[in-house]
């Protein structure tokens, strides 16, 4: 495999600027006041993730972790810089987002699946498996507004899993408010099929990161301050100082 093919995600010199709008700007104001207040959420991010790597991202609140995932997922574009991804990217950032409350479970599976980039035939083929996995067989013909939030999350996760992504993006640890399903989801992500996939996860707890990942990235104020193996001394030092109250081996 040559170098190009073995790379899953490549970010070169990525910068992301947000305009701070304390209130929604109006068209008139824009021309009268001119430039808005701005804020750089990411600065000079250079990152290469190889196929099959599991990378954990950690850092303080508001440091740009979610923005980084959004840029990799293509949900938003960088102000400067380039993003390349090799293979299908699926983000599990907002699982229950995108369901239409008035449509039935089945209709929503089709809609959500298409939005995630699954082909129509493939949805038809996997329909039973999606419903079984989410464990909502009884309610599949009723409108989604009658679903509990746990059911919606389960359905969202089930669709995402059946989209067979090459690159998986996760924001924080998964929780469904349902012990059994959380275990099932963890098992799926830990299965041999998913072990081979490129995964990027955002964590708040270094303990979870240590269980799942081999490589860590620390982001502070929009810049990568550390990128390397967990064994590295700098990483250990950072975790010690920021998560002092937790035991770290």
């Amino acid at each position: 495999m040559n170098r190009q093919q073995s790379i899953a995600i490549q970010l070169t010199n990525v910068n992301k600027k947000y305009e701070i709008h304390h209130e929604k700007p109006t068209l008139v104001e824009k021309f009268v006041k001119g430039r808005n207040e701005t804020f750089w959420a990411l600065r000079d991010i250079n990152l290469t993730v190889k196929k099959g790597e599991r990378v954990g991202v950690i850092g303080p609140n508001g440091s740009g972790k979610t923005t980084l995932l959004k840029i990799i997922a293509g949900i938003t574009s960088p102000t400067i810089g380039a993003v390349h991804s090799n293979g299908k990217v699926v983000s599990l950032i907002d699982l229950e987002a995108g369901f239409h409350p008035d449509l039935t479970g089945i209709q929503n599976i089709f809609l959500s699946g298409l939005l995630l980039g699954i082909k129509r035939d493939s949805i038809i083929k996997n329909l039973h498996s999606i419903i079984d996995y989410a464990d909502i067989k009884q309610f599949i013909d009723v409108p989604v507004f009658t679903y509990s939030s746990g059911m919606k999350l389960r359905l969202g996760f089930s669709i995402a899993v059946h989209s067979h992504p090459d690159i998986l993006l996760l924001d924080e640890g998964l929780s469904f408010g349902d012990e059994n399903f959380t275990i099932k989801a963890r098992q799926t992500l830990g299965s041999s099929e998913y072990r081979k996939k490129t995964t990027m996860m955002v964590y708040h707890e270094p303990k979870q990161l240590r269980e799942q990942c081999s490589r860590a990235i620390i982001i502070k104020k929009g810049a990568i301050v550390f990128d390397g193996e967990l064994k590295n001394g700098t990483y250990k030092k950072y975790i010690k100082t920021t998560h002092a109250n937790q035991t770290f081996k």
Binding site: Y18, E19, K24, P25, T26, L27, K30, K70, A73, G74, I75, T76, S77, V89, V90, S91, I93, D94, A97, G98, H100, D102, L103, Q107, F110, L111, S112, L114, L115, L116, G117, K119, R120
Partner: protein, 255 residues
Amino acid sequence: MKESITHFWELLWGMTEKELRARYKYTVFGFLWLIANPILQMLIIGFVFTFFMKEPVEHYYYFLFIGLLVWNFFSLSLTKATPCIVFERSLIKKAYFPRAIIPLSIILSNFIHFALAFLLFFVPILFLGTLSWGTIPYLIGATGFLLLFTTGLSLFTCALNVRFRDVNFFVQAILLLWFYASPIVYSLSQMPRDLLWLWRFNPITSILQLFQHALLGAPAPGPAMLASNITVMCIITTLGILVFRDESRTFDDWV
């Protein structure tokens, strides 16, 4: 490449189905509303305006009905497409997909309504005896222009509305005026000749005239009118596509 185009259409159709299903979900009369609405408008306007007309328009009720169908498609698409990105913010935040799918699916679902109502309307027209095979090119042209202009303008207002929410109010206000600035309740032949240049800036004029000519034998748009209307249409549509393409990359930052 071919695969992504197929997926684009699958997704567009999926979203259009959603629009159609969700709209009439809990209504008793369902699709009947799409025909009842213009009929009621036609009856009221037809009754009132016949008292004002100096020289009556031939087949006035039919004339009105065509105008109202076309206008309802245009104004409904524009009012629904303008705030659509803001309404569908949860989709924007979920995944990457061509953002234009959202306004396009609204326009397509409205177009299906329009086409159905139009087919029903064809039955009484057949008895009127104004139709001929030669009208088909006019119909195709008119439909094409209508779709092109509605899409272009909707993309423009929809992309701008993400940042500047007053665009939505502006569109609502302008549509009220636009209705009277288009030959729906009147015919251009009733207007003073030296003011006709005013209608050249309004692309809806030619579209309406083409439909009225094709179905009722009303006068077709003159070459100058057609040419200037098409120019305005092309400018707005190009602008719409360019602005949407540019803005859609960062929709997520604003919703």
